[in-house]
Amino acid sequence: MNELVTESLAGQPWLSLLTFMPLVGALGIALRQMMARRGGDGAIVAAEQKEIDGVARRVALLFTLGAFALSLFIYIAYYDRTIGGYQLVEQAAWIGGGVSYKMGVDGISILFVLLTTFVMPICILASRSIEKRVPEYMIAFLMLETLILGFFCALDLIVFYLFFEGSLIPMFLIIGVWGSPGVKELGGIKMESRVYAAMKFFLYTFLGSVLMLIALIWMWRFAGTTDIPTLQQTAFPPGAQKWLWLAFFASFAVKMPMWPVHTWLPDAHVQAPTAGSVVLAAILLKMGGYGFLRFSLPMFPIASADFAPLIYALSIVAIIYTSLVALAQEDMKKLIAYSSVAHMGFVTMGIFTGTTQGIEGGLFQMLSHGFISSALFLCVGFLYDRTHTRAIAAYGGLVHRMPFYAFFFLFFTMGNVGLPGISGFVGEFLTMAGAFKINSWIAFFAAFGLILSAPYGLRLYRDVMYGPLTKEKLMAIADIDTREMAMLGVLFVCALIFGVYPQPALDVFAPSVDLLISHYDAALAGAFGAPQ
């Protein structure tokens, strides 16, 4: 058997420290809120609340930046880029019966850890316009960061599931409490649309993941352990692999989201506050792709190969269909949400080609989508803060009033379209190259996505930015300020550097991807005879 797993232990529990660092900040804010001075009627005095809000914002920013610094430090000082196996592994006894608390990273997960800690401070900065219930808001984001980091670092199935599902709770509250106003009618019952979106988000994802839970318990029983590296070495019987694969697919396909289970995403995106959309697009969607790479491919290689055509078909439908749907959208956030589904189509297609280009392309696409879609949601958010509408029709001619904004918006729209020189292109190109190796028709159809992303991207840009500035409301609109420019600027630099010179990112995950592929090929060779 191929040696997929070379584990090197950590001297210090670095990953746990990183994971639970934001939680400490959240507890700090909660404690401050609890100790607030109260007036005679038991309510907190307004001035005091204002002070606490300020403290909460500062603490949240401090802890997210601290987590970013710590993750960079861990990466630079302790992470060895030459090994493909798991590093910085820490393990502690827990429930027993094969379940332990185990954390570790490899080239694939370290990338997502860094992306998470990088995006989170931006989210906190982007929340300036949040004015109600600020401490709770910051607590929710810090908790979310802990849960996401734990998810990417977990090396035990139960620990993994805990963080995976746990991340639903803060996101549910973020969408439901701080979402945008509006009422939706559903079967005669009127409910607020943010509540509808929050419920849909939770129940959809929950249904997907309980099936995975059953599969996970079955694997626990089969292998006698929930240790992920061990399970990656375990050869599950081909008949069972099929069911296990489908159960995991149910969970990750919803999370990703793949067509046709993507319908929760536009609702969630539209209703979530700006920072919520950013987290959702930049990180939460990546959980699905990460799951495919961490579980489906290495643990169920035979089923993955068998089901690959299904994935290709769904991916191509996603790429073409959702691109067309995006073309018809009247709401800016909805448009970007649908384009996210299309971009994730490239990721799933790339991952299941099982080729180096495909998988590396998928990973790179996720990374780049993390920058570009975050930036686009921020751009929409900045406009929303100024005018409180997301309807494309409400804008036009902004370029005259907002030149800096126009520059960034154009850059990221082009990135979304896949213009060479910006990071979005690299991922799409690599996944198509991977697909081409398997079957040129897949690449042929996927290429439509590249073409179709141009019309909706350009239309959005034209309708919002160009044309005469006629709308009354927009006459006095102000260009982006320094804070907003700083956020977009950071993402701009990342998208540009990785677009021109993607090698550093590819180098990070290459050893792990190579290991994964050699394991995958060996398993297939064992099942179907020698590889072609």
Binding site: G96, R133, G166, F172, L203, F206, L207, V210, I217, R221
Partner: protein, 478 residues
């Protein structure tokens, strides 16, 4: 075993029996103004009994009174939880009862007597002892349900509970007599020996009746009808008590009455239990959706949760029994917390029970809102709350016995039931605030709710310990 030795192992039960009588006499002499004192003494008595149970070293288990009762790790595990839950129930009742002019000294005495009955139930090792324990408990519970005798709802609850419970006791007795008729034995181990000899259709028919009777006591569907009405009608602290200790005791009794005598004919009763589990989960998930009264909702929630616990019993092996114990432990802790929250739903002018009154609780009372949210997520089985692990272990037990379909069904029902827990959370968090409840910072109820909610998260590192002691308890049955 000599009489003194037998009595030695019964010290906790003797404490409760004698203590309850002493409290009764004291209450009669001192009158209703002594209610508070008697409550405190009753709590002390129950906690004392719990400590004695903990102190007694009962492994490898002792047969008392000619094998009618059995004191082992299993009964001790259940008894500790029962006594603890009963003590907490008394602790949580004080203020409510005083407020509703119900502060009578009989209340704590009845709870002590019910606890005595429950202690007998979980130790019962023959059919007669089982019935005796059950009725000791039931008599106290009927009175408790109708405790607010001037309220029509409460008396109706008591009466309904009495009639339906009597009916189920008949089923149970009929089953017991059939089993006795076809095996010639009452004692569980002896029945097991006869059952192991093979085909005995009369025994199986008796078993079906016995299961029906027991299913009523744990309020498993389709024998659940009484639950919502009794939960709603009984005074809230009584409901809190009903939801915790008696559920646990009935489930523990159910498990012993299945596993000890009928392990060898597991295949005969497994389908019945699977049906009970499926029906309970379904009823619990769907019927709760339309409820507007929080107590009724908790009743349906309880029915659903019993369904999950029964999955563990359906597995029928030591792992399954351990998972039932873990499930019930976590469930009891959560439920007591939830009812503490419900008892805190007090406005000027009395208690409220409507779910809509919780609107905006996270703003009017952030602490209580947070506690309630954590408990509800735990009931829904969303990780990282402890409630998730309760479900995890029963599913694991089912899958280990190749009952994968049952686990999948349970998992899907947990998504359906997540809807109504989420609906409460949405009312708490997303809706515009309703008038605030009275603040009771640091009250007994507040502390109970806080401790219960904290346990949902703080207990995570110690789940291994809980599982281990549950496994040790389960092992003593086999």
């Amino acid at each position: 075993m000599s009489l003194p030795e037998t009595l030695f192992w019964c010290i906790p039960e003797l404490m409760l029996a004698l203590g309850a009588m002493a409290l009764l006499i004291a209450g009669v002499y001192l009158g209703d103004k002594s209610a508070r004192l008697i409550s405190t003494l009753a709590i002390a008595l129950l906690v004392g009994a719990m400590l004695v149970v903990a102190a007694l070293n009962v492994t490898p288990g002792h047969d008392l009174f000619g094998g009618s009762f059995r004191v082992d790790a299993y009964s001790s595990f259940a008894k500790m939880l029962i006594f603890g839950a009963a003590a907490l129930a008394i602790l949580m009742s004080d203020k409510y009862l005083a407020g509703e002019q119900l502060g009578r000294f009989e209340y704590p005495v009845l709870i002590v007597l019910a606890s005595l009955g429950m202690a007998l139930m979980v130790s019962a090792n023959d059919l007669l002892a089982l019935y005796m324990g059950l009725e000791t408990q039931n008599l106290a519970l009927y009175i408790l349900a109708a405790f607010n005798r001037d309220s029509r709802r409460s008396t109706e609850a008591g009466l309904k509970y009495f009639v339906l419970s009597a009916l189920s006791s008949c089923l149970l007795l009929y089953g017991a007599s059939l089993i006795y008729g076809f095996t010639g034995e009452l004692q569980f181990d002896a029945i097991a020996r006869v059952a192991a000899q093979g085909d005995n259709i009369g025994l199986v028919i008796g078993l079906v009746f016995l299961i029906s009777g027991l299913a009523f006591k744990v309020s498993a569907a389709p024998f659940h009808m009484w639950t919502p009405d009794v939960y709603e009608g009984a005074p809230t602290p009584v409901t809190a008590f009903f939801a915790a200790a008696p559920k646990l005791a009935a489930m523990a009794m159910f498990v012993r009455a299945m596993v000890t005598p009928f392990s060898d004919i597991l295949e005969e009763w497994r389908p019945i239990l699977a049906i009970l589990a499926v029906a309970s989960m379904t009823v619990g998930a769907f019927s709760a959706i339309a409820q507007v009264n929080i107590k009724r909702l908790m009743a349906y929630s309880a029915i659903g949760h019993m369904g999950y616990a029964l999955i563990g019993l359906t597995a029928g092996d030591p792992q399954g029994v351990a998972s039932v114990l873990v499930y019930m432990t976590i469930y009891v802790v959560t439920t007591l917390g939830v009812f503490a929250c419900i008892l805190l739903m007090r406005r000027r002018g009395g208690m409220t029970e409507a779910i809509d009154d919780l609107a905006g609780l996270s703003r009017t009372n952030p602490g209580l809102g947070m506690i309630f949210t954590i408990l509800l997520f735990s009931l829904a089985g969303v990780p990282p709350m402890a409630g998730f692990f309760a479900k995890l272990f029963v599913f694991q037990a089912a899958i280990a016995q190749d009952l994968v379909w049952l686990a999948i069904y349970g998992a899907i029902m947990s998504v359906v039931s997540a809807f109504y827990y989420l609906r409460i959370i949405w009312i708490i968090w997303f809706n515009e605030p309703a008038p605030a409840f009275e603040r009771e910072v640091g009250s007994r109820l507040g502390v109970t709710a806080f401790v219960s909610a904290s346990l949902m998260l703080i207990s995570l590192p110690f789940l291994g310990l809980l599982l281990k002691s549950a496994q040790a308890a389960a092992a003593s049955l086999f």
